[in-house]
């Protein structure tokens, strides 16, 4: 293999690659990046057996094609530390040489045959969606998913396509976050089965260095999801099991509606939650005409009462919530105002932003609040 490449493009791709390649693993081959030169493109890939990433580097001149494995971290450091604009890479036998102006690195390579095959996108994607829209949907949902639950199905974010509406849903059993958007379905894309995507793949997608308006092609099969954006391909295993029927959880009869400025609400919650500890995790929301009062009390720590102006229609009432759960959602909505609807003190509350974001949260018992 012999080729010359643009250092900056390569360095950016290698940063993403090293984020995927395992740092610590019982299978040493997983610490490697696969470097494949063919035609006029250089492909870099890495996998940790859950998600895999393949980046295509296009600003290259390939003299001799080839395929090898090197330690991802090592190559990444070399490429990011060199000052040159163009670097030359070649291999001989079991060594890879990286040469720049006045520098020469020689690193050992490994046989690519032992590298687990990284799934590619076979055929066309089933649908496409703009990166910024998908990222917003992911941001709205991923925080609500469970971590290390033995109810495996909720350790990920559900992707569901009905018509041209893509719905992402996540829950940890105490709250549910649902975000939807319109996508472009490809002809011959066929049916898209519902898929539960692990959060690792989603956070990788959030970090990929691609333009906000680039289209993301999505293909879901029985055991994996493949996302292609720019020159990159992210493939991930799916979570096994059946996601709970989340539609049944979304209340439809909440008639007491609170409309409040997001920043005010978030600030008030932050202050009120200073008086919350492990034993009393609840904040009491007292709703009355034109006003929202938050009160908290922690044994041996103190009490807090915070009032903020708000538009509220309906009878005065009190309801308790975990303030962390409220703040998690308020941090990601990115709108000036949110609407929050409740029915009574032992029914779930619901936060909405337009039709695209719905957040259902279970109340906590006020006796402990």
């Amino acid at each position: 293999m012999k080729l010359r490449f643009n250092r900056l493009e390569m360095a950016e791709a290698l940063r993403a690659i090293t984020a995927v390649a395992a740092q610590r693993t019982p299978k040493p081959v997983l610490r490697c990046a696969r470097v494949e030169a063919k035609g006029d493109v250089l492909l870099l890939s890495a996998t940790d057996l859950e998600v895999a990433l393949r980046c295509a580097i296009t600003q290259v001149e390939v003299d001799t094609p080839g395929d090898t494995l090197v330690l991802a971290e090592t190559l990444s450091r070399i490429v990011s530390e060199c000052p040159d604009e163009i670097l030359v890479l070649d291999t001989d036998g079991t060594q890879m040489h990286v040469r720049g102006q006045g520098s020469h690195f020689r690193i050992p390579t490994t046989d690519p045959a032992d590298f687990p095959p990284v799934g590619g996108m076979e055929g066309a994607p089933q649908f496409t969606v703009a990166m910024d829209i998908l990222r917003r949907q992911i941001e709205w949902t991923v925080f609500a998913s469970a971590r290390e639950s033995t109810r495996y199905a909720i350790n990920g974010v559900l992707w569901e396509l009905t018509g041209d509406k893509l719905t992402l849903a996540a829950t940890d059993g105490r709250r549910l976050s649902v975000a939807s958007s319109r996508v472009t379905r490809e002809e011959k894309g066929g049916d898209v089965p519902p898929a539960i995507v692990p959060t690792k793949a989603l956070s990788l997608l959030m970090r990929l260095p691609v333009a906000a308006d680039s289209p993301v092609g999505v293909k879901v099969s029985a055991n994996q999801v493949v996302l292609s954006v720019g020159g990159s391909l992210v493939s991930s295993s799916l979570v096994e099991g059946h996601f709970p029927k989340y539609q049944d959880v979304v209340p439809t009869d909440c008639n007491r509606i609170l409309e409040i400025a997001t920043a005010d609400y978030l600030g008030a919650l932050k202050r009120a939650s200073l008086m919350v500890n492990e034993e009393s995790k609840g904040v009491r929301l007292s709703l009355s005409e034109g006003n929202l009062t938050l009160s908290t009390r922690a044994p041996e720590q103190g009490e807090a009462t915070v009032s903020v102006p708000a538009r509220y229609r309906g009878e005065p009432m009190d309801i308790g919530f975990n303030p962390m759960f409220l703040m998690d959602a308020l941090r990601v909505v990115h709108t000036d105002e949110v609407s929050f609807a409740v029915k009574d003190a032992n029914r779930p509350g619901i936060m909405r932003v337009g039709d695209d974001f719905t957040y259902v949260i279970m109340p906590v018992s006020l006796a402990s609040a």
Partner: protein
């Protein structure tokens, strides 16, 4: 490592083949039996056939009925990419879980711990977190847990839910030597498959194939001492137990003329040397554990000597292990069969004491005192006819 390579485990092989052919492979197996008889080999063979794209039938010798006849066994093809990845241990859907995995754990505190048992952090990170994901290559996910009997109670409890109903395509194989060391709740959630000791001639063949330069008399000795475990035999060769045995029986044969406290100092010294070798092989073994297992090895050799004495006294020369010591054996056999049997029983008692964490030094001292007394005592049953 194909299913066809596992020999002399008719019971286990049959259970696996039956499950494979009926298409109903249990989600959790518990392979239990002595060390080094093919549990992991069979587990890997099972993984290969489950992950292989085109399993095929191979014909293997029928060890139970007649080795000349062949019987068909479903096994991985050994040629496809999946089989190749299984052989290289890099198959994305094959997960080997063992206690030393803590060194690869993201938490540095877990990494610095000594892996005395298979801990909850290791199990959570390497097994429970990935068991719920779909297989990368689309078929099954196989988890093989080595030394499952050394799983901490907390880790076993954390695994119960997963063992009971692993999601989707996962198959879990626990490998254990002693069922008693597992929680009953763990055992009841798995299909237990028993593994038996291997025939001595098979261990003999394995040894001479693996170590062609080992002198034939040593091959014979190691094969006989290993009690039907090919793995133990190979490890014993590495530990040079033959040499150690020579020194031990020299002491045992002259026990009636030596001062016991000289002997026990020598034995403790030997145990220390052997323990060092054990720890070299597995640095995650505590000092006391290494001393205990090295003493257990020494006691195993000692009881072999008395078994030989017993055989010689009974006139059964074929069963003797230490064939090179005919003269000493005949002299020692003068004490009679009953005393030799008493000595073996006394060694078993010492083994039990060690197992219950008795002080090793004290244990060896009292044992040698008793053995020396027995060596000087004429056998009452042998004397009776006179």
């Amino acid at each position: 490592m194909s299913l066809g390579d596992v020999r002399h485990q008719e019971h286990a092989q049959q259970a696996i083949q039956h499950a494979l052919r009926s298409g109903r492979v249990p989600h959790a197996y518990l392979f239990h039996g002595p060390d080094g008889v093919g549990k992991e080999m069979l587990a890997l063979g099972l993984a290969e056939v489950l992950l292989c794209g085109a399993p095929r039938e191979v014909r293997v010798p029928d060890d139970k009925h007649s080795p000349a006849a062949a019987k068909p066994v479903l096994a991985g093809c050994g040629a496809c990419e999946d089989c190749r990845l299984v052989a290289a241990r890099t198959h994305p859907d094959l997960h080997l879980i063992y206690r030393q995995l803590n060194r690869e754990h993201p938490d540095s505190q877990v990494r610095q711990r000594k892996a005395l048992d298979l801990g909850i952090d290791v199990l959570r990170h390497f097994m429970i977190a990935s068991v719920g994901l779909t297989p990368q290559r689309g078929r099954r996910k196989v988890f093989i847990v080595r030394e499952a009997d050394r799983t901490s109670d907390g880790a076993q409890n954390a695994l119960l839910k997963t063992l009971e109903e692993p999601p989707g395509a996962a198959v879990i194989v626990l490998l254990a030597t002693a069922l008693d060391d597992l929680l009953p709740t763990t055992v009841s959630r798995c299909q237990a498959v028993r593994f038996d000791a291997l025939p001595e001639r098979f261990v003999h063949a394995r040894l001479s194939a693996a170590l062609p330069h080992l002198p034939p008399d040593q091959v014979k000795w190691y094969a006989r001492v290993a009690d039907g475990s090919a793995g133990t035999a190979l490890r014993d060769v590495g530990d040079d137990l033959y040499g150690l045995n020579g020194r031990l029986i020299e002491d045992l044969a002259r026990l009636d003329r030596l001062r016991p406290n000289q002997v026990d100092a020598r034995w403790m010294e030997a145990a220390k040397g052997l323990a060092g070798r054990f720890q070299e092989r597995d640095p995650d073994v505590s000092d006391s554990e290494a001393t205990r297992s090295s003493l257990m090895t020494i006691l195993r050799l000692a009881s072999r000597w008395y078994a030989d004495v017993l055989h010689t006294a009974a006139g059964d020369a074929d069963a003797v292990v230490n064939v090179g010591c005919g003269g000493e054996l005949r002299r020692a056999a003068a004490v009679g069969a009953r005393t030799a049997a008493d000595a073996i029983a006394r060694i078993v008692t010492a083994e039990r004491q060690l197992h219950l964490n008795a002080n090793p030094q004290l244990c060896v001292e009292t044992l040698l005192n008793d053995l020396a007394r027995m060596a000087c005592r004429p056998d009452t049953t042998a004397a009776a006819p006179r």
